[in-house]
Symmetry: C2
Subunit: 228 residues, 2 copies
């Protein structure tokens, strides 16, 4: 890397750090390029040489958040890859919750309230969003394809209009990915998402003594339902 490129990277990293700080203090919608420029002692136009718009910066932060979550899941999946499917999946789902609670602003950035006026660039964000799903789909594939576990019986009676959409990145990651595996993944996803969102925003704490135990207990039940 040239000295010039290195300096550019340092500046970009500093802009992102300040953006995250701003969001932590004022919410994800509070991002202001001018405020960041001011803080860095730069002019607005100078900052635009690094990010051409507020939305470009938001997109960069979203991509990094997705990637950080995906990496956390991937690392856990790799660490427990030689364990039984159920043990490996449990660890990955526990990591998902842990990451959300440890990174509340990043989690809000990708799964929380939309940022007003933000026009996402799906071409950029969708493939990285897919990376979050990939380690879980891989474990499910191992269970239902390699180990030939029976699919849960509720898959037999799905309404015909309920079609799974295999994204480009899913097809790329695994051309033979069965729709049933993706469907199970989606069902599992909304389960853990519901619990985590309620806990992250303090809605479940007034109702149940121990959200961590509640989550653990419910993911066991979820895995039972899925024959895992």
């Amino acid at each position: 890397m040239t000295r010039r490129a290195k300096f550019r990277q340092i500046t970009i990293d500093e802009i992102k750090s300040l953006a995250r700080l701003q969001m932590a203090e004022g919410g994800t919608a509070s991002l202001s390029l001018n405020a960041i420029a001011k803080h860095m002692g730069m002019s607005g136009p100078a900052l635009y040489r690094y990010f051409e718009s507020r939305d470009a910066l938001i997109t960069a932060l979203i991509v990094e958040a997705y990637e950080a979550l995906a990496n956390a899941l991937e690392e856990t999946a790799a660490r427990f890859a030689d364990q039984p499917v159920r043990d490996c999946l449990r660890q990955v789902l526990l990591t998902y919750r842990r990451w959300a609670l440890d990174h509340p602003i990043d989690f809000q950035l990708i799964f929380g309230n939309p940022i007003p006026g933000y026009q996402g660039e799906e071409k950029i964000t969708a493939p990285t969003a897919g990376k979050v799903f990939a380690p879980i789909l891989k474990i499910l594939q191992r269970a239902y394809q390699q180990e030939n576990r029976p699919y849960p019986s509720f898959l037999e009676n799905l309404p015909p209009q309920l079609q799974v959409r295999l994204s480009h990145s899913m097809r790329e990651f695994q051309p033979s990915l069965p729709e049933k595996v993706v469907y199970i993944g989606i069902v599992g996803w909304y389960h853990i998402h519901g619990m985590i969102m309620l806990e992250l925003f303090n809605h479940i704490q007034p109702l149940i003594s121990d959200p961590a135990t509640f989550y653990s207990n419910e993911i066991e039940r979820l895995m039972d339902q899925m024959n895992l």
Copy 2:
């Protein structure tokens, strides 16, 4: 109501309408009493005679949002009260989703990202939050207490440290409310919450053809699990 009280009420309603408009345009975190005052041609201090702080206004909006959702559920429950438990509950859960999609800002206000710096007044918001839960708990009570349906078997093996917290408003609403009924309510809640949050923020649409059918199908499965 005196002429003076009537005028006061009209002003309060106008402030709330402008606040909702502001949130719809700039997100729930964008609320500014000064901007509202300016728009109404009032001075800041004059507005403070109606709401003593930004947080007081937010609290009022949160209470109204909870009440609107609670009323929607309550009305549906009343309309289907003489139908079988499962049919009545189905309609209430469909209303829950419908209300969320029709009132995305109100839904974000009560269940979305926390508003930075907002100090909620739980003494005020908690009882109205409880009202949302009440129509559902009432239906569950009918099923498990009046109709003596068996509790789902997963309730038999709960970890001992998993205690349900009966809020003051729950005890008030129904002194004999069994913890098991509340537990089932919480489990059901995170299910529908997960699906709705993913749909509201456009995460499920890229994965499944028809989120409405998906939701309907999953609440049937949920009710099966609960012996309803």
